[in-house]
Each structure stands twice: as C-alpha cells, then as structure tokens.
C-alpha cells in the first residue's frame, strides 16, 4: 500500500467533484420533480438530488482501492 500523499487528496477531490456534478446534472435533466425531496429539505425552492453521499462513498472506495493497488 502506498503512503497517502497530496496526490491521494487531489485524486479523491477530483473523483468526488466529477461524481457529484454528474449526479446533480443527471437529476436536473432526468429527475422527477417530486423525487428526492425530503421533508426536511422542503424549504428549498427546487428539487435537488440527494445522491451526494453516494458520490462521496464511491470516491472514498475508489481512492482506497487505487492506493491499495499502488
């Protein structure tokens, strides 16, 4: 396993940003208006994807796997 360094953080950030933006864009184009709007977020003016956590988890998993392979 490689020692975590600055590149590990950059990789995680890039992956996370890419996935988060992808999920947000996909929801904007294909998401149903009533989907993913939770009661606690009802104050927000527009429906928003709640899949940010999934993007974060996928990024963490990928970074760990890549670092273990290195």
């Amino acid at each position: 396993m490689a020692e975590p360094n600055f590149m590990t953080a950059i990789l995680g950030l890039a992956l996370s940003l890419a996935l988060v933006l992808t999920f947000a864009s996909l929801f904007r184009f294909f998401g149903r208006k009533d989907l993913n709007v939770h009661k606690k977020h009802a104050a927000h003016s527009r429906p928003t994807s709640r899949l940010g956590g999934l993007a974060v988890c996928l990024s963490i998993l990928t970074v760990m796997v890549i670092n273990n392979e290195a």
């Binding site: 396993m1 020692e3 975590p4 590990t8 953080a9 950059i10 990789l11 995680g12 950030l13 890039a14 992956l15 996370s16 940003l17 890419a18 996935l19 988060v20 933006l21 999920f23 947000a24 929801f27 009533d34 989907l35 993913n36 939770h38 009661k39 606690k40 977020h41 104050a43 927000h44 928003t48 994807s49 709640r50 899949l51 940010g52 956590g53 999934l54 993007a55 974060v56 988890c57 990024s59 963490i60 970074v63 760990m64 670092n67």
Partner: protein, 219 residues
C-alpha cells in the same frame, strides 16, 4: 432506498445501523473501553457492556450525522473537519491506514462541500450521512484502541457537534412528548441559524407590508 423516494421505517434503520456496528465489533474486536470517567471505565471493563456501549455509540453517530444534514454545508463541513482531525491524529501517531482513510474522506467530502454549499445543488442524503457517520465512528474507535494515549475526550470533541445536536433534539421532543423520529425545523442548528440571522438583520422581520385596505383608504 430513502434517497430514491422509498420510505423506510426508523426502527429498521436503527436495526441495520446496529447490525453494521455489530459486524465491525465482531470482525475487528475493537471496543470502547475507556471514556475518561472512573466509574464508567469500571463498567466498561466488562466486555458485553463494552460491546453494547460501542454499538450504541456507533449507531448514535450514524444517526447524528443524519440529524445535522438539514442546512447546506453543515453535514459535509462537519465531516470535513472530523476527517481532517482523523487524518492529523493518525499521521501524528503513524497510523498509515487511518491516515489514508482520513485523507479519502476529507478529499471526497470537500468535493461534495463545494457543490453543496451555499446553493445546495446536491445534498448528502441519508445514504451518505449514514455511511460517513459509520466510517468516522469506526475509524475513531480504531484509532483510540490502537493508540490508548489519545484521550477519549479529544475523540468526543471531534464529533461533538452532531452528538450535541442529536441530544438536543431528542431531549426537546421527549419533553414535548413528540415522536423523535420525525423531521422538523427546530433542530439546534436551525435555532442557532435563525438567531444568527435575527441578530445580524436586526428588526427586519418586524417590518410589515401595508394592508390593501389601508392603502385604498389613503387614496
């Protein structure tokens, strides 16, 4: 499933959280055995009590992370800080795996934070809050078990805000005899945010629009 529009009962969520925590304890054999209070440490010296307390703490943090996911940037920002603290502490004590996990959580949460705050273009969601809460809980427990010289109070400080918010909500709802598993807008972070807005905007909320009738009367 909750994030995709299907409702899941709170008891089922708690059970699944407890099961995950149980799996962690079963496979890793890491328990909370020292909390910095003498008589509690005495009770935690009994292994079954220690295991039950560990499972309780993991489930509490999992749900606490979900509790604070009510304002843009709060849950992701808190995760950022906790992951940074984990990364810093693990690096200081030469724990390579935990440093890597802390770095991965920190960098991934930073990506979410940049999109989540301040406009809220995407939310963490229940899946993310539960997973990040679980990851933080197990990594902090692991760190404290591997390096017993790290004070339990410093670990508690890292996750203080989510725990305080959840405790406040539960106490408030229990005192009001309401069900504590329903979402509302009276969590501690909501109250503090409102008080900050009021104190910074002064009397702006007290200014009312003139009524229609009074306007027509003047004309």
């Amino acid at each position: 499933m909750e994030d995709l529009g299907q409702s899941i009962r709170p008891k089922l969520r708690l059970t699944v959280g407890a099961f995950s925590a149980g799996l962690f304890v079963f496979f890793e054999h890491y328990y909370i055995s020292e909390v910095g209070i003498e008589w509690v440490n005495l009770a935690l010296s009994v292994t079954p009590i220690s295991i039950a307390f560990t499972v309780f703490c993991v489930v509490a943090l999992i749900n606490a992370m979900n509790f604070i996911d009510g304002i843009n940037g709060l849950a992701s920002g808190k995760t950022l800080m906790a992951a940074f603290a984990l990364m810093w502490l693990s690096n200081a004590y030469n724990e390579l795996n935990l440093t890597l996990l802390g770095t991965a959580i920190f960098s991934a949460s930073l990506g979410l934070f940049m999109v989540n705050y301040p406009q809220g273009r995407i939310f963490l969601g229940d899946a993310g809050a539960y997973t990040l809460g679980f990851l933080l809980a197990v990594s902090l427990i692991t760190l404290q078990n591997k390096q017993p010289e790290i004070s339990a109070w410093s670990i508690l400080l890292i996750i203080f805000w989510p725990i305080a918010d959840m405790a406040h909500s539960i106490v408030r709802l229990r005192i009001g005899s309401q069900c504590s598993d329903r979402p509302d807008a009276l969590h501690l972070h909501h109250v503090i945010m409102r008080s900050l807005v009021i104190s910074s905007c002064g009397r702006i909320f007290l200014v009312r629009r003139p009524k229609k009738n009074s306007f027509s009367e003047t004309n």
